[in-house]
Amino acid sequence: MAPIVSVSNLVKTYASGFQALKDVSLEIEEGEILALLGPNGAGKTTLISIICGIVNPTSGEVRVGGYDVVRDFRETRSIIGLVPQELTTDQFETVWNTVSFSRGLHGKKPDPAHIEKVLKDLSLYDKKDNMLRELSGGMKRRVLIAKALSHEPRILFLDEPTAGVDVNLRKDMWQVVERLRETGVTIILTTHYIEEAEEIADRVGVINGGKILLIEQKTDLMKKLGRKELRVDLQEPISTIPETLSTYELTIEDEGHSLIYDYNTASERTGITTLLTALAEAGIRLKDISTRQSSLEDIFVELVGARA
């Protein structure tokens, strides 16, 4: 099946000379949730802005639903919904009017039933007659999502959707995203929160310095790059690692009460069995053993750090 979004050799150089995107190519499949991770200034928002038509590309091609975003902008923009990073709202307008306005902009005839459903889904219906300036930050964020969904888009871009949002609201947002996915909406989100990507994404892309460093299925990525940590708590503290254990990558923690062994789950032999045998032969008595999978955050930091 053809990808719903296809970006080829995209370059964006601003008038100041700053190159925000350097030959970016990626494809997004219909119905998936793609999380784009990257530090500030990595190029995430520029990439989204070009796909949505807000910023002109310098060179390269972007196709959405098979259409070119510049030449066939009506076709591409009519199936895209965008939730921007900033809380940009017309403060003196009511929730109902601003959401209806967004629907009209996308060429759709008024449909009060749909607007009502969107507002109810986002727990905004009881605020429909409130002016936006009367709403909290979290509520305004929901209004932006409602505006983006007002014209029933097939693709939804969420640019830092939970930035500055409290934990409860963030989890509510994740539920909203999950419900949208169930209806077949393709979702692309940029985020600083690794746990957000880990929680809801199917695929993860890492962007830094205007380049896509990788795009992988989240599970594959964690399997491929994921390191595991074996923690061995000792009955008696040690000050140095015995010579017989020098071949293992061990570090001492907790003032000698724990040994940490890093290993790669992808390798054929993890070395755990031989390590435990060697510990016993060295006369080190164990109190407890635990393992910890490295998180997406560890992977991200490692990846961005290595290529910085």
């Binding site: 601003y14 008038a15 949505c52 038509g53 807000i54 910023v55 002109n56 902008f73 009506r74 076709e75 591409t76 923009r77 009519s78 895209i80 965008l82 921007p84 900033e86 940009t88 709202t89 017309d90 403060q91 003196f92 307008e93 009017n97 306005f101 967004s102 009209g104 902009l105 996308h106 060429g107 759709k108 005839k109 505006k147």
Partner: protein, 253 residues
């Protein structure tokens, strides 16, 4: 043509006028009424007729033009500048709306507001002076064309402006002098020859002159020339706007 989008932008902008009725409508009506009281009744009663027209009636077209130009430029510029300022412009730019449709929505609303207020001023003027419109259709043509042209001019200023100071620069500092020196309160025949020649470089002179001709059949310049000048100005603005949209100047970069 995305008519729903044009309607949405148009009615969204018109709703702003309803919300700010006092500032949008009442304020210009009061200030223009003051002009009529001071220049029309108080000062005007001591000034002789100009080309057979009472002074109060003579200044009416100029005062309507002053309001129309100020309102159209103000509304046209603010309409597009405000979403740029608040950031909500992202929504317009990411919608399936062509630049022509954006202009129709914003400029249409700005021109409508200008025409509404201009009509109210005309009605207000009729309370103070004895008005006679010799060529109503020509008057409407000048009225509508000027509203559209200067709303478009305002729209371009709104795109160009980076801050509120720039936004107000032309409406506050350029337009009033041009209107006042464009024959609003006098016929340029009353000026020395040098200043008469200088006045011909003032585009607003042609607007006021043509508009006044439609009322009283008196003009400083031929009404056909006045009409041509508006058309040329409109064409220049359309050309400028086409360039702005093609390059994304201060919108998509």
């Amino acid at each position: 043509m995305n008519l729903e989008a044009v309607k949405s932008i148009y009615f969204f902008e018109m709703a702003r006028t309803r919300r700010t009725l006092l500032q949008s409508v009442v304020s210009p009506v009061i200030s223009t009424s003051l002009y009529f009281i001071v220049f029309g009744a108080a000062v005007g009663s001591r000034i002789q007729e100009i080309d057979g027209v009472s002074y109060g009636a003579f200044i009416t077209p100029g005062l309507i033009m002053l309001t129309l130009l100020t309102q159209c430029i103000g509304n046209g510029s603010f309409g597009i500048y405000f979403p740029k300022f608040t950031g909500t412009i992202y929504e317009i730019l990411s919608s399936p709306v062509s630049m022509t449709e954006i202009v129709l929505g914003y400029v249409g609303a700005a021109a409508t507001k200008g025409l509404m207020i201009g009509t109210i001023i005309l009605g207000t003027a009729a309370l103070f002076v004895d008005l006679h419109i010799a060529h109503p259709l020509v008057m409407i043509l000048f009225f509508v064309l000027t509203a559209i042209t200067f709303s478009l001019f305002g729209f371009i200023i709104g795109i160009w402006a980076k801050d509120f100071e720039q936004l107000n620069l032309i409406p506050m500092l350029v337009i009033p002098p041009l209107v006042f020196l464009g024959g609003s309160f006098y016929s340029i025949d009353m000026l020395p020859p040098f200043w008469q020649a200088v006045s011909h470089f003032n585009p607003v002179l042609y607007l006021i002159s043509g508009f006044r001709w439609s009322f009283f059949e008196i003009a400083d310049v031929n009404p056909v020339v006045s009409f041509s000048i508006i058309i040329v100005f409109l064409a220049v603005l359309m050309g400028l706007l086409t360039w702005i949209f093609r390059t994304g100047y201060r919108l998509r970069n």
